[in-house]
């Protein structure tokens, strides 16, 4: 009988002596309020996946604290938040947002040595050698544009007009594509590049200019809100939606909801399965939704969920490498997570994309074109590997 109290004391001693679980922080910022808030489902998706894991034992037994902050699509706000994430929150992974901030921070990310998953797809921040800590989760803007151009060439089209906002998100990729010479190589002609203010609400003048060029395709290097303004004003001047192809940030249910008939035939690059697809990841999301709230039920949320899967897998592998607990030194932890992220190959993300491979820091370079038919985006072909 004396064994019981002794056993109890031993258990308590072991418990007391066991190392306290280190805090594992992931810092996320997105445009919660601002001009591209329409696509902020991807920030919520990352947060929610980590919360989902917390409710199912955490990551390698550790709770992950996911802090979601509002960058407001303002550069100075995003730069400030980055410092909070790295210095104050001691985040082991930072999930950033804009192309502008990714470019502005790329050197600092290098010197801070913090894994940085950006929502931008700008090729100028994708360089595993030069920027070893920066990752993205899909084909670059330039690769997306190339997919659309190849599709146009395959269908016998000739003239293309590119529309883009006059900020880094718009001009950067357009400039890279123009300089690459791919348009000429495909036998196409760039009839015009039409720029507009990112937050412009009336693009009638721009659409009249597009119409005067008589293009076979108009490529939109912008996001959902801008696509809505473009398609709405295109309809005003008699340009059909089927002329337009948008990047993957223009694939949003809000477009057919708001525009109705004026959106029929609009096409966009699709790199992720839509919300509600019959895939294992959707089962997880439904489990999460039963206990929590899904803020945005759209394709960007799926993207975020996928990023969360990748981030969690990298953290888990880093913890396992350290004997099952997070390293005490945050710098070492970040380095381990970065290395683990780069080593993720054939990662199953529940069917959101084909298996992920982060050796090239992109996760996936496959996409397909989806077309608005009767108010829904319907894939018009198979997954295409960008750059092939």
């Amino acid at each position: 009988m004396k064994l019981k109290p002794a056993a109890a004391m031993l258990a308590l001693t072991i418990a007391a002596a066991a190392p306290a679980r280190a805090q594992v922080n992931v810092c996320i910022w997105g445009t919660i309020t601002g001009p591209d808030a329409l696509v902020n489902g991807m920030s919520y998706g990352v947060r929610d996946y980590l919360e989902f894991l917390n409710g199912n034992g955490g990551v390698a037994g550790n709770k992950v604290t996911a802090l979601l902050l509002d960058g407001r699509y303002k550069l100075d706000e995003e730069l400030k938040i980055y410092r909070r994430c790295v210095d104050e929150e001691k985040a082991v992974v930072v999930n950033g947002w804009s192309t502008g901030s990714a470019k502005a921070l790329r050197e600092q990310v290098n010197s801070d040595g913090v894994p940085f998953m950006t929502q931008s797809f700008a090729s100028e921040v994708l360089d595993p050698k030069k920027y070893p800590y920066i990752f993205m989760a899909g084909p670059t803007y330039e690769q997306q544009m190339e997919i659309a151009l190849r599709d146009l060439a395959a269908k016998g089209g000739k003239k293309v007009v590119i529309m883009a906002p006059d900020n880094e998100y718009g001009r950067g990729p357009v400039s890279v594509v123009r300089q690459s010479g791919i348009i000429k190589k495909l036998g196409l002609e760039l009839a015009d590049t039409v720029e507009f203010r990112y937050d412009a609400q009336d693009l009638t003048a721009q659409m009249l200019r597009v119409k005067s060029r008589n293009p076979d395709m108009v490529y939109i290097q912008a996001s959902g809100p801008q696509a809505i303004a473009i398609l709405r004003d295109a309809a005003k001047v008699g340009l059909p939606a089927k002329l337009f192809v948008g990047n993957l940030y223009t694939i949003s249910p809000t477009i057919p909801e708001q525009l109705g008939e004026a959106a029929e035939g609009f096409r966009a690059i699709q790199a992720y399965e839509p919300y509600g697809a019959d895939i294992p990841a959707m089962k997880q999301i439904e489990q999460f939704a039963a206990k929590g709230k899904v803020e945005k039920k759209d394709i960007y949320y799926m993207k975020g969920w996928m990023e969360g899967i990748a981030i969690a897998a990298a953290i888990e592998n880093a913890i396992k490498k350290n004997g099952g607990h997070p390293p005490d030194d945050i710098k070492q932890f970040r380095q381990d997570v970065r290395d683990a992220m780069e080593q993720l190959t054939a990662l199953d993300d529940g069917g959101i994309t084909p298996p992920l491979n982060f050796a090239n820091h992109q996760g996936s370079t496959q996409a397909r074109i989806a077309e608005v038919k009767e108010g829904k985006y319907v894939p018009t072909g198979d997954w295409i590997s960008a750059g092939s």
Partner: protein, 341 residues
């Protein structure tokens, strides 16, 4: 500036410095942000608060300073020289912005400064060789007088020293004939002319000096962000600065610092309160509403801003303004004799 005000100025600067250096990079960034905003607000307070000339071009003037300092320090010049360069070009551009003031008044002049802001924003985007266009000019951390500025903490001391020097300079200026001329021009250009004041000269001097300080603030902003980007120097920034000086107290001595601290730190406070209460998403959406509402409330109920509110709490405290700035422009009242209290 009285000895007491000097002591307060230096004391506040020292406190900010200690906080910035002791509490890590993020705190240092916030201290720099407040100091830079206070500098920018000080320059606008000179133009609007003391001289009564409404300007919407403050954001762009900071941009001029940032790009100038960035290009100079990237070329290898010491940061101190680059900051000075930013100030000088800021002054020159500000003088150009102020030229319409010779013939325009009130709303018409304000619209002219709005046009200047739009023109400068456009130039930031297209002058690729100088600005790198929409990508922005990446600024290599400089050295200032030989000290490397390669961290947020390292910028704290220069930011605060420059802020204190600018504060002292403006306080001194307002005790001179030119400073008093600003106040009279603000109250009535006709009376000023009657008193023999060269109104055009006074306005131009306000723009020159204000533009210099704005250029210096912009240079520091460029160093703090290590980037000068068109997106950072928009009309939104100009509106923020106007909000700072209204909330702080137009034409008051401590108003720019109080307003700058309030405008810079209020979003942080809202964010932290929201996180603590689990409603940060909602509060984030209400942030713009909160700012707009605050400005309206101040204009209606206390146009003299937080400075006046604080002075009511402490009648002999920091709200006392020695430069004849009895309130917002247009309010009646006798200018007080400059001098110590």
């Amino acid at each position: 500036m009285s000895a007491r005000q000097l002591a307060i100025t230096v004391g506040v600067a020292v406190l900010m410095g200690v906080l910035g250096l002791a509490l890590g990079r993020y705190a240092a960034y916030l201290v720099n942000a407040v100091a830079i905003a206070a500098l920018g607000a000080l320059s606008l307070n000179l133009i609007i608060g003391y001289c009564g000339q409404i300007s919407f071009a403050q954001g762009a003037l900071l941009g001029v300073g940032a790009y100038t300092a960035g290009n100079l320090s990237n070329a290898g010049l010491d940061g101190a020289v680059a900051i000075l360069g930013g100030g000088l070009l800021g002054a020159a551009v500000s003088a150009l912005v102020g030229l319409p003031a010779m013939r325009l008044r009130g709303l018409y002049f304000a619209i002219a400064t709005l046009a200047a802001q739009a023109i400068l924003e456009y130039l930031f985007k297209i002058l690729d060789p100088l600005t790198n266009g929409v990508s922005g000019l990446v600024i290599t951390p400089p050295t200032i007088l030989g000290f490397p500025m390669n961290s947020d903490q390292s910028l704290v001391v220069p930011s605060l020293v420059i802020l204190v020097l600018a504060w002292l300079a403006v306080s001194r200026l307002m005790r001179t004939d030119l400073g008093r001329a600003f106040l009279v021009v603000r109250e009535s250009e006709i009376v000023a002319k009657g008193m023999g004041i060269d109104v055009s000269h006074a306005k131009m001097q306000a723009f020159l000096i204000g533009g210099f300080i704005a250029g210096v603030a912009g240079a520091l902003a460029g160093y703090a962000n290590r980037l000068a980007s068109p997106e950072a120097f928009t009309l939104d920034l100009s509106a923020d600065y106007i909000a700072m000086i209204i909330i702080g107290g137009l034409g008051t001595w401590p108003g720019p610092l109080i307003g700058a601290a309030f405008v810079v730190l209020l979003p942080e406070a809202i964010q932290r309160v929201g996180e603590a209460a689990g409603i940060s998403d909602i509060l984030s959406a209400l942030r713009e509403l909160a700012f707009g509402l605050l400005i309206i409330l101040f204009l209606i109920f206390e146009p003299r801003g937080l400075t006046a509110l604080l002075s009511r709490l402490r009648p002999r405290g920091i709200g006392a303004a020695p430069h004849g700035s009895v309130g917002a422009p247009g309010e009646s009242g006798q200018p007080q004799e400059g001098g110590s209290r």
